[in-house]
């Protein structure tokens, strides 16, 4: 019961600003009124505006197939995003490349609207030869940054759509002894472009001692390979003890060992999300069974905004700085005047347009050749 109360309070914290304290002491208002300018209501105003505007969040999921990614996403957001999905068999997967598929869903809770976009990466890590299989994914993330950069530098900036990826859940197989080479390479390719939250998938096949050892092992390897996963920010010093305790537990549980489920089973007289085995029932929301609740709280209830902030302030700014540096070095090479607004190079045309351009170039060349021949002939005559 305690955990429910704590969770309720966390939700309250998000929905109502800290000026709640003032309102609960109506008697004191009178004293303050004389020196009360009134801008303490600013957080309320911001709150009202943001609720009206709604929030958006883009979450990417990556990892080899069969690790329960779709099930987990459905469990996290209590939706069924993958109703019409067709699973490929092994032969079909031999020639499959990594795809990027987006699902967008609008959900609402207590009047707050959230536009949630899930970016799926089917095919990742499934082939016999997985060399650079993360390239389509890094390209996608870069494209979103580039798009935002253009929009930001453009003339009409009123309704910029933010498609940048705010968080990437990376699923690590519980069947290994730690990180596999493909895991390491993926995370190193992406850790400076997106917030990576590594997860241990299908954790119900591990007993508690195995989970502990696997988490330790993964943490060691993350350090060893210099992978920069998303760091939970430090608690403010004015937070209460319970919150700080929860925060500590959160940090110590990473990487989270999760289980997802699309089905509801009956356990101890209650209907819960879980998995029914001959030897017992695994409850997804039971903290003694897995870290699902911790992940959900972190992702949605406490750190969603921080994930977005880090994406904007760190990853995007890095990208932007790199971009501008590249462009200015090019400009100084060509000895042109520098302008305060960076002049972006023409967008790289897609393959269709490129083909067309190539075709037209070929035509031009042929026509020129013909012209030359005709001129020759005329001269000879």
């Amino acid at each position: 019961m305690d955990s429910i109360i704590i969770q309720e309070r966390l939700v309250e914290r998000l929905l109502s600003p800290r000026t709640q304290a003032q309102r609960s002491h109506p008697g004191k208002l009178k004293d303050h009124e004389k020196q009360y300018v009134g801008f303490a209501t600013l957080p309320n105003q911001v709150h009202r505006k943001s609720v009206k505007k709604g929030f958006d969040f883009t979450l990417m999921v990556a990892g080899e197939s069969g690790l329960g990614k779709s099930t987990l996403v459905n469990s996290l957001f209590l939706t069924d995003l993958y109703k019409d999905r067709k699973l490929l068999n092994a032969e079909e997967r031999i020639n499959q490349t990594v795809e990027i598929i987006k699902h967008t869903v609008d959900i609402e809770e207590k009047g707050v609207k959230l536009k949630l976009t899930i970016v799926d990466t089917p095919g990742f890590g499934d082939a016999v030869n997985n060399t650079e299989c993360w390239k389509p994914i890094t390209d996608y993330i870069d494209q979103q940054f580039e798009q935002y950069f253009r929009d930001e530098s453009g003339l009409n900036r009123k309704n910029i759509q933010d498609n940048r990826v705010h968080c990437c859940l990376y699923f690590i197989s519980p069947f290994g002894h730690g990180l596999r080479p493909v895991d390491v390479e993926f995370m190193k390719a992406l850790h400076e472009k997106v917030n990576i939250v590594p997860l241990i998938a299908k954790a119900d096949c591990l007993i508690p001692s195995e989970i502990r050892k696997l988490k330790e092992r993964i943490r060691e390897e993350i350090d060893k390979f210099g992978i920069k996963v998303y760091q939970f920010p430090e608690c403010d010093s004015d937070e209460d003890e319970e919150f700080k305790q929860q925060d500590r537990e959160l940090k110590e549980s990473a990487p989270f060992a999760v289980i997802g489920s699309n089905t509801v089973v009956e356990a101890k007289g209650q209907r819960v999300r879980g998995r029914l085995y001959p030897w017992g029932i695994v409850e997804v929301e039971n903290q003694a069974h897995c870290d699902f609740v911790k992940l959900r709280n972190m992702l949605i209830r406490t750190h969603m905004h921080d994930l977005k902030d880090v994406t904007c302030d760190v990853h995007y700014e890095n990208y932007r700085a790199q971009c501008i540096q590249q462009m200015t070095s090019k400009l100084t090479q060509d000895n042109r005047i520098e302008s305060p607004i960076p002049i972006l190079p023409l967008p790289t045309p897609d393959t269709e347009t490129e083909k067309l351009i190539k075709m037209k170039d070929e035509e031009l060349r042929r026509m020129q050749e013909m012209l030359q021949k005709m001129q020759q002939q005329m001269q000879d005559q």
Binding site: E64, S65, G66, L67, L87, L88, N89, A90, E91, R93, I94, D126, A127, V128, N129, N130, T131, C133, S173, P174, F175, G176, H177, R180, P181, V182, E185, K202, D204, C205, I207, P208, S209, E210, K213, L214, R217, R275, L276, Y277, P278, W279, G280, I281, V282, E283, A288, H289
Partner: protein
């Protein structure tokens, strides 16, 4: 021998099968060894005894299989190893003064561990089994089956069986080698219903209903390895050891080995290859694999 990516519980399972520490499994998960850069072949020999019957058991492990980013042709060292054992046997056989009991290092059975994704086989699984079902008896096994519910298990097994059939992969017991009707009925049932066996392995014992059983203790219950309601370990054990052990050896000798021999004779123009004398050069370039260590 056993094949499959690392971490699928191969060592634990082999230890459970033979109820002894026949597989080099480091304590728990603290593997000091890193994932090897290429596929290695490690053979360890044991002599185990039961009821006065002694058995020389050689377990061949293939660490590194399927663990790299690029796993193209990672089955080749394994195929090569198997063929080398056939070659060794062949050379002994064609000797003028040959030994009464030729040392048999041929691989009688290959347990291939399939990852319990719940979806289907992986392209690597298909490639491996396609190539190797032609040279050795392959028994596909679904590893770490405690990650699937009964429903998921049944569906997954059906899908895997179908995929194997569609791709023309004949796992042991192969249909074409059924000797009589009795065999066929028995094996049909195994082929179409039980296989691939979904197994769970464990070397720890717990008290359940007054009995000590091998199992895995989770916060939501104890998984009993030898309980047929929980997993099919007992079926696999009975199949490999109690009913089909001799048949595995016979099929290896009468069919796989003979196929290899016929091919070699054909390649050599109908003549047998150079017999194994102490200082003769070998026909094939044997990769440097240490002979089995006996413990």
């Amino acid at each position: 021998p056993k094949k499959g990516q690392s971490g699928l519980g191969k060592s634990t399972l082999v230890n459970t099968l033979f109820k002894s520490q026949v597989s080099r499994k480091s304590s728990g998960w603290n593997r000091e060894e890193k994932i090897p850069k290429t596929v290695e072949i490690k053979a360890i020999g044991h002599v185990i005894e039961e009821g006065g019957v002694k058995m020389k058991l050689t377990v061949i492990d293939t660490p590194g299989f399927g663990d790299q980013i690029n796993n193209e042709n990672c089955w080749e060292p394994i195929e090569k190893y198997i063929n080398e054992q056939y070659e060794k046997f062949l050379k002994e056989e064609v000797n003028i003064a040959r030994k009464k009991r030729i040392p048999d290092t041929r691989v009688h059975c290959c347990l291939y561990f399939i990852s319990p994704t719940g979806h289907s086989l992986r392209p690597l699984d298909l490639e491996f089994m396609k190539h190797l079902s032609k040279v050795v008896n392959i028994i596909p096994v679904i590893a770490k089956a405690d990650t699937m519910t009964l429903e998921e298990k049944t569906e997954f097994k059906q899908r895997v069986r179908k995929e194997l059939e569609v791709n023309g992969i004949e796992f042991y017991p192969q249909k074409e080698f059924d000797e009589d009707l009795e065999d066929k009925t028995e094996n049909d049932k195994i082929r179409q219903e039980s296989m691939p066996f979904a197994v769970v392995g464990s070397d720890k014992e717990y008290q359940v209903n007054g009995k000590r059983v091998l199992g895995r203790k989770t916060p939501w219950g104890i998984i009993e390895v030898e309980n047929l309601n929980h997993c099919e370990f007992a079926l696999l054990r009975d199949f490999v050891i109690r009913t089909h052990l001799q048949d595995l050896k016979e099929v290896t000798h009468n069919i796989h080995y003979e196929t290899y021999r016929a091919k070699r004779l054909n390649d050599n123009g109908g003549l047998p290859p150079t017999p194994a004398t102490p200082d003769s050069a070998t026909g094939l370039s044997l990769q440097h694999v240490a002979p089995p260590r006996w413990e």
